[in-house]
């Protein structure tokens, strides 16, 4: 479970004051899959860094119940280039016995379809495969809460569709609480059970929409579904409104 309560973040450095997050409040229930979407530059990454404990909020709190894993946007830079794939996935599991670690690594790599790449170095793999390794590492860690920061922003469209389905599959299997940050409206509607729309910076929660599409989703039929199109339109309208309000300076 994940609770964000009146969170704000102001960067105050070199005489320049930038208000990234004004007042963010939402929560993601146990085992829920929520997406955060917003116009570019709305402080999505700031929000994630506050949630992950990498950044201290200026005020308010972000509470994560249970073990947390993060998949970063820059997959190429979040894998250790001197470790092979299996050691990258196993690195956070140093406390376990060798045998236990091995078993967890194998399961996680199988879950993302990378069993054959265990002995490769990350830089020998394509971008999509590297992001799978990062996902496998998060799975192997055994988190209760999984945060993902625009994980598919830098991969091509087909790989992206595969990875989206992979993530839904992982979520089903692990039963984790999942918060997925993206700038892609279609992706936010397709993936989760809820879409949290942020306004432009200094950002607030503009809208919190429950996506009651059927749980069984498919790239072809779900995206063609009239309800999907309707949700997408609603999210789009909110983001456009947020941008207009921002341009007017309110």
């Amino acid at each position: 479970m994940l609770i964000v309560d009146r969170l704000s973040k102001v960067y105050d450095a070199h005489g320049r004051r930038v208000e990234a997050l004004a007042d963010i409040t939402f929560s993601v229930g146990e085992g829920e899959f929520a997406c955060v979407v917003g116009p570019s530059g709305c402080g999505k990454t700031t929000l994630l860094r506050c949630l992950a404990g990498l950044l201290t909020p200026t005020s308010g709190t972000a509470t994560v119940h249970g073990k947390l894993a993060v998949v970063f946007q820059e997959y190429g830079r979040s894998l250790f280039p001197w470790l092979r794939v299996r050691d990258n996935v196993g690195l956070p599991l140093k406390d376990l016995s060798k045998k236990e670690r091995q078993a967890k690594v194998d399961t996680a790599l199988a879950a993302v379809g990378l069993t054959d790449a265990a002995g490769a170095y990350p830089w020998q793999l394509s971008g999509g495969m590297q992001q799978r390794v990062a996902i496998a590492r998060a799975i192997a860690y055994g988190p209760r809460v999984l945060l993902m920061d625009e994980p598919f922003a830098a991969v091509d469209a087909q790989t992206r569709a595969d990875l989206e389905d992979l993530i839904r599959d992982v979520w089903h299997r692990l039963g984790v609480t999942l918060l997925f940050i993206t700038h892609d409206i279609d992706e936010s509607v397709y993936l989760g059970q809820r879409v949290i729309v942020l306004s432009s910076a200094p950002s607030r929660v503009a809208e919190n929409i429950a996506i009651d599409l059927p749980d069984e989703r498919d790239q072809l039929t779900t995206r063609g579904d009239a309800r999907f199109v309707e949700f997408r339109g609603r999210v789009y309208a909110h983001i456009q409104k947020a941008k207009r309000d921002h341009a007017r300076g309110t």
Binding site: R49, A52, G53, L54, L68, A69, V70, F72, E74, R77, S78, F80, P81, W82, L91, P92, K94, L114, D116, A117, A120, Y121, W123, Q124, L125, M129, R137, Y141
Partner: protein, 277 residues
Amino acid sequence: MSITSRASELGSSLRTPYALRRRAYAAAKRVGIWLGLPVALVTAWWFASAGSTDFYWPSLRRIMQAFAETWFGPRLVEDVLPSLARLAVGYAIALLLGIALGVAIGSSVRTRAVTEPALEFLRAIPPPILVPVIMLFAGIDDGMKVIVIVFGCIWPILLNAVEGVRATDEVLTDTCRVYGVNPLRHLIVRAASPQIMTGARQALSIGIILMVISEMVAASSGLGFTVVQFQRGFQIPEMWSGVLLLGLIGVTLAAIFRFAEHKILGWYHGSRDADRR
């Protein structure tokens, strides 16, 4: 391309007889390029100096003779090995100390700002000038020579380590924090290792120079000492053979270093090649 086909393609291309033959040919060509010029130079020296009667420029044949007589005897144990041992100890201390201090200094912006001017000053002192100074309190035995080598070798290692640590990717730092991985053990030194290696390579040649200089100024054994003794005793072929030996030692150490670097930084060269593709 799927990973399976990639992996099997890689495996098979390394194993076919044709590929093996091609690799053997490429290796032979490399050795040829590597050895070609040295062999030509030695041959030219051999014939140009043959029958030389000049006292100061003896024939290569005479120098080779002196080489065998001089160095394949008790001198190997009494002079060569002690020199190399002092170099090894001094270099190892400089490596450990340089990396430890470099990591400590590089990890903190404030420490770096405070220490930088002092480090630049210390680095600017030419280490040979410290030989007589260190002699004053450390005497003229092994301790002095090791201290001189450490003092000369540590700066390139330390300053490069500081730079390397400073350039550690922050996404990896975040990754360590999120996953509870100790960055000191698993990230910082490894991430800085390419720069540390650059410093260590510079330090190795400095170390060899200081090994010889410290022995030339004050010693009763060692390579530098022996070469100076030969020069003073007008044992010219022996003197030249000492110079040759020092050159060979330098080449051998550089080769060992390159081998170690290849082992340690294989990932680095591979990832850089991958980026270029």
